[in-house]
Amino acid sequence: MNRGVGHLLSRLALHAVLLTIGVIFILPFLWSISTSLKPVSDLFQVKPSLIPSEIRWQNYRDVFDTVPFLRFYLNSIIVTFGRTVGQVALASMAAFAFAQLRFPGRDILFFILLAGLMVPDQVLIVPRFVLMREFNWLNTYQGLIVPLIFSSFGVFMLRQFMLGIPRDFHEAAILEGANPIQVYKDIFLPLAKPALAAFGFLALLASWNEFLWALTVTSSTDMRVLPVGLALFQGQYFTNTAVMLAAANMAMFPLMLAFLIFQKQLVEGVALSGLK
């Protein structure tokens, strides 16, 4: 009896601690939402309040009048879509081959690919920029997308998963006259769906938030993506903090929504990629 009460109390204490930390974690987001709805007079209070004195939706409309935000949004969607689809498609093909097919030099090629994971992008950024200039790809979607669709990490993660699928699966299909592409498409892609979803989310996340390459390869305002636009126009154009935070909220909103919907897969994907 006594033990039960003690247990209950310790549980309650744990919940109190976790809830407090949880509130602290969520507060910056709440504050950002509240500030983005405030009129200017609310911003310069020595005792700021979480609740705006009046709700000013106009701040969100003002974002689009201040900078070409719709264009940034569109660019971000196109670039993220291109990079994510490209990464998943190319990495899954290669992962299937590395995990399931036999060919001379396979392990060495895979090892070389893996070594690439250790080199930070900053070392490669200037030569890549020069290459883009030679291709005339500066300020283009190709320039933003193509150099970032080859993911060694994706090949590694998906290969790890596909190694777990018995080779008999595809031996049988081959004996029935299917070629490896059909095996990949009809057997492995459906089986690897959880891993593909997990990697797809990580690729989506990284692409949507990516900053350094997008900053480097574009210079015209029309080709900026959300993070770059948001960073560069601060102070200069966004003189009203409420409008600037409205822009920040809109930039992060789609991924947060995606996360709330696909939470389980995403968290499992992170755990999966971290463990191996």
């Binding site: 500030t35 090892f111 250790m118 389980k264």
Partner: protein, 306 residues
Amino acid sequence: MAETVSAGASGGVLGGRRSRQEAAWGYLLIAPVMLGFAVFFLIALGASFYLSFNKWDMLTSPVFNGLDNYRDVWRDGEFREALVNTLAITIPHIVLRLICAMGLAMALNSNIRFRSFYRMLFFLPVLTMPVAIGTIWKWLYDPAFGPINSFLRRFGLPEPEWLSNPRTAIAAVVIVLLWSGVGYDMVIYLAGLQTIPREYYEAASLDGAGAWQRFRDVTLPLLTPTIFFLSVIGIIYSLQVFDLVYVMTRIDQTNQLPTVVYYIYEEGFRNFRMGYAISVAWVLLLMILVFTFIQFRLQRRWVNYV
């Protein structure tokens, strides 16, 4: 690495043709990734290495100048400042993150209610765009009108200048990095905790071990591979910190807290000292390799592999 499955049908003429076909398909399927890798990685890496020994403004042709760039990096006061900033951010960031994340993970590893709700709360900042996070926190830290100092004021506590003072700026940045990264480590820890067999704890309890002893003798040793993994990737990531810090600490168009990657970008694409910027990047790569190497060397002393 080599998963040698029994060679199914490799004998005979048919088998030979089949394995040649299989090899052809294999090369075909890896071709796109390998081609992209060759162009955007291998060639870029070679060019980068060569250019780091050149003086180059990108308008005229590169001029070979031997080790001059690296010698300049060594003497460069601005680089040193960026390096000190980066390390001053990295070290407390990683240490605090590893500890806080472990605490959270252990709290959530029990069969506590609302577990996935808490996990979601702590994980949410992980996927938020760093530039947006920086924008938000910059306002939270505003010395006069931000909520943080308003809160401190209410309790009569000292009000730091946060981002406008280089010394407090480091603390401010570390707090944000902690907030935005701890959820990631927590998820990895949770996965690690789940691999510890329950029987270990039961056996320890039977031997009369209290909660602290169970943590010290069972949980901690069995989590060392996870701690090792997290500290290796955490340091690699943190040494490359850029966008979040850049957005937060750029005040009136000057960067109060330049980091190494910021300096690379600035030297290359603003001052057009391409060769020099590349050599700074190579120094960064070298530092990452050294840090990682040291960690791998030290792991024998403290990491338990079951």
